[in-house]
């Protein structure tokens, strides 16, 4: 007869057989370390409309719109992401400092985008992970957290 501890241990053994983490998850985990940026200021994702309880209550026609807001020490970034046909276009607004460029980083690619005089920029994003680096010659780079679209 099995105790609770034994049954749980047995379940853990079966889970590893039936549903093990794919090798890819380990490889991506190892690789994450190479994307470390030690000297950048981090802007943390503080608001994501995908997490809101009322996401379903929104207007139907807007259900492919996702609002993201990142907050750094003295800089904020708002992203208005519109999804269609598997790709996303994002309109960005930088608040708190006039950066000259945004470098958009994907796990396997990156591109540079100019920021206009009002702190706005727009960018096309594929499905998956991305992060933004706000760059300017006169101050340290601000990097947003990785976000999954």
């Amino acid at each position: 007869m099995m105790t609770n501890d034994e049954l749980l241990a047995d379940l853990g053994r079966v889970a590893l057989l039936a549903d093990p983490p794919p090798q890819l998850t380990y490889e991506l985990g190892y690789a994450a370390f190479s994307l470390r940026t030690v000297d950048h200021e981090l802007a943390v994702l503080v608001d994501d409309s995908a997490l809101h309880e009322d996401a379903l209550a929104g207007v139907r026609g807007e259900s492919n719109v996702r609002m993201l807001f990142y907050q750094g020490a003295d800089v904020g970034v708002e992203l208005h992401v519109i999804r269609s046909d598997g790709r996303s276009s994002a309109l960005g607004q930088v608040i708190g400092y006039q950066f000259s460029m945004v470098r958009v980083e994907l796990p396997d690619a990156e591109q540079l985008i100019a920021v206009d005089d009002l702190g706005r920029f727009d960018v096309e994003l594929p499905r998956g992970l991305f992060r933004l680096h706000l760059e300017d010659p006169d101050r340290p780079t601000v990097t947003t957290g990785w976000t999954n679209l």
Binding site: L16, Q23, T25, L51, R66, N148
Partner: protein
């Protein structure tokens, strides 16, 4: 299997310090140790394999960003579970919105054969297969709590409590109730003690 077998002597605090100094091997050891736990959290939210892999990757990327900030290594497990849970909820929220918003990505969201976290296809042993099938019939909360508790290394009740936003005093009773329910489900298949036998079990 992971590339680097974790050794019990490797203290998480030391691994974190070494990783913070740029040591890739220390980082890999952290990944080896906790990937199964993160996978369990994501799959406990019934995410498909592709979404669950995204959640695990995102969690590792977040930890890389926050290596500097994690001053209390004993909080690492709870931090990882919380981050993976939030990211899982975000994916679930997005999937719901896509269901409402239209079918532009229908093909991308079709489950593959292994997408069901409680699929028994990989299990050769009949008893294991039945046990896993019964586990799949538990409610979502039971699956989340048990999957977190069964992961290796096992998190503490306090860690599961803060990460799954349940009162710490409810983890033990929930664990007991869910395992009892599992025994009930498995009993007709002759896999587990009957109700009468359960009554004899040491607590």
């Amino acid at each position: 299997m992971p590339r680097n077998a974790p050794s019990i002597q490797d203290d998480v605090a030391v691994l974190l310090l070494r990783a913070n100094d740029g040591d890739q091997q220390a980082w890999n050891a952290i990944v080896d140790r906790f990937t199964n736990l993160l996978w369990s959290v994501a799959r406990g939210h019934r995410l498909g394999t592709a979404d669950a892999a995204d959640v695990v990757q995102t969690t590792w990327l977040r930890l890389v960003e926050h290596l500097d900030d994690i001053r209390e290594p004993e909080r690492l497990t709870a931090w990882l579970i919380t981050t993976a849970r939030r990211e899982s909820l975000r994916v679930v929220g997005l999937a719901r919105r896509e269901d409402v918003g239209g079918a532009d990505d229908l093909a991308a969201n079709m489950p593959d054969e292994r997408d069901n976290p409680v699929d028994t296809g990989l299990l050769l042993d009949e008893r294991d297969s039945l046990l896993w099938h019964c586990f799949g019939q538990l409610n979502e909360r039971c699956q989340q709590v048990l999957r977190a508790l069964m992961a290796s290394p096992p998190p503490s009740y306090a860690e599961v409590s803060s990460a799954l936003e349940l009162p710490v005093g409810s983890i033990g009773p929930t664990r007991g109730r869910c395992l009892d329910r599992l025994r009930e489900l498995a009993a007709p298949a002759g896999l587990a003690p009957t109700d009468a036998q359960i009554g004899l079990e040491r607590s």
